[in-house]
């Protein structure tokens, strides 16, 4: 069976005012379908950079990446956009909801780029919102919702396209403990119920505890992958 994500010796170098910053210095990993993985490491260790590469938002300086069995270096920007739309769901620390748009329309947005009709978009968005327990907030705008609710809207948006992989970058970073726990519970449940692979990026060990597997990153390198310790 092909892995959901397969990275081989990924590097990413940024050029900043003529100074090269090596954000990733050779990362290899394999994430199977339906896995729940936490990428943990201190701030600046390269977690977000890695997540952007895994989500095909960015191209590596060197190394190879297969997403759902497809070699991403072979794809054009347009094909990468389609790949993101169909295979990847993103959840960000700062939610990134469109401010003047209702929860329902925010959730339906990825389906616009899939070319679905309005009725279909709305019914799928409604189902996604219900699955994160926000059936009663469809017509609310982000400013009318709590941070926890906003992040749940963002999770619904990430799931509405039925992706293979959900990438969450510090999803609880802007939330209090109670809302953070609620968001984590939803991610747990979605992973076990729908079988979507969840890659959780965090710098908090307590959050990383939710995952069955932890990948520790430091200075652009994988320091420890718990999958290597207790292979299944």
């Amino acid at each position: 069976m092909t892995a959901a994500l397969e990275a081989l010796d990924l590097t990413r170098r940024y050029q900043l005012d003529g100074v090269a910053v090596e954000a990733l210095r050779g990362v290899s990993l394999r994430i199977g379908r339906g896995e729940f993985v936490a990428i943990i490491g201190p701030s600046g260790s390269g977690k977000s950079t890695l997540m952007h590469l895994l989500g095909c938002l960015d191209r590596p300086t060197s190394g190879r990446l297969r997403v759902n069995g497809v070699e991403m270096s072979q794809l054009s920007d347009t094909e990468l956009a389609e790949l993101r739309n169909k295979t990847i769901g993103f959840v960000f620390q700062s939610f990134h909801l469109l401010a003047r748009t209702t929860a329902l329309e925010n959730v339906a947005l990825p389906l616009v780029y899939r070319g679905l009709g309005k009725a279909e978009r709305r019914s799928r968005a409604r189902a996604a919102l219900e699955s994160v327990g926000l059936g009663h907030r469809m017509e609310h705008r982000p400013s009318q919702m709590s941070g926890g609710e906003q992040q749940r809207v963002a999770i619904a948006r990430a799931l509405v396209g039925e992706p293979k992989v959900l990438l969450a970058d510090e999803p609880t970073g802007n939330l209090d403990t109670r809302n953070g726990a609620e968001v984590m519970a939803i991610l747990d449940r979605l992973n076990s119920d729908s079988g979507v692979a969840v890659v959780l990026v965090t710098h908090e060990p307590e959050v990383a505890e939710h995952a069955r597997r932890q990948i520790h990153v430091r200075d652009g390198l994988i320091e420890l992958d718990t999958a290597d310790r207790n292979p299944e």
Binding site: H52, G55, L57, D58, D77, T78, A81, E82, R84, N85, K86, F90, F92, H96, L98, R100, T101, L109, P110, Y113, R114, R157, G161
Partner: protein, 386 residues
Amino acid sequence: MALEALRVNRLRSVLTMLGVIIGVLAVVILVAVGTGAKDAVEKEISGLGTNIILVVPGRLSVGAAPTQSKLNLADVAYVRRVVGDPAKVTVSLQSGETVRVGGTEAFVTIVGTDQNLTNIFERPLDKGRHLSETDVDTRRRIAVLGSEVADKLFGDLDPIGRQLTISGARFRVVGVYAKIGQTFGVSRDQEVHIPVTTAQRLLGIARVNGIAVGASGPDEIEPLQERVVAALTDRYPGEKFSAVTQTQLLGTIGSVLGMLTGVLAAIAGISLLVGGVGVSNIMLVSVRERTREIGLRKALGARQRDVLAQFLIEAVLLTTIGGVIGILLGVGGALTIQALTPVPASVTWWSVALAFGVSAAVGVFFGVAPARRAGRLDPVIALRAE
């Protein structure tokens, strides 16, 4: 979605549209006034009569000093023989003079002419009669008044049969013309027509200013025009004579006014372009402000062309809404001008269509650069933007 984005920044959208609104408004109104002026002049010329040829001495060109007339009544008789139909030739000798009735004075244009005037020109009577052949032959001191002259000198009285003094000589009123308004900005209702023979004696002039010939049909105009000029040149070797037809006059004035309208529209078009620069500017600001939104949309699967289309549609919507508002205001303005001032204004469908098309094109043209910038944004950088 695009409308929504414009509504979010309503004031800014309206201010941005203002440039386009003013540009389109100016185009529509200026073209309407230009076209209205052209229509009015053309109506004046066609209102003179049909198939008219005007013969004057010298070369006819815009801005040239009027040539000293060489034509006299013998030449008129000669032209009558050349034309063949004497009734289709008339004559004009004009001079500004003061006319008086009792204590009331008026400065008018005295036109010395003959009984054939009305065979060629449209000049309906209000009351009384036209000049007759006998009036001309016997140098009668009688006059037919333009409507304004009649009003000014006689007021409510019936002028027919009453006396008036032209340059000290007494004349009797035999007719009053119906009101006909202006030709080329000169009121024709301030004319006083007297027999050309009487006018020559009164003014001490043996010449006439011009001869008018009426052709029997549109096809006759050009050959007749050539024949008359050739005959006069024959008679006065070395002299120049010009004949202009109504059609030529229409064509010349039409093209001059058309050019004027075009220049006005072009100037107005420049303000439309300036409006477009404003749109471009605001779209760039909008792209910058919404960098994170663009990053997010790309993360969710928006392709470069989706983002480009989104911003392009917004720009075009901005300019076309501005265009429609400008058209509505422009049409309203033109109708108001028409109703409240003597300036004629006629809104043409093509200027409206052009204004709309140009405002849409301005949106595309000035929206492309910001929209491409948006489409090309790197999603990672866009997402990290503050």
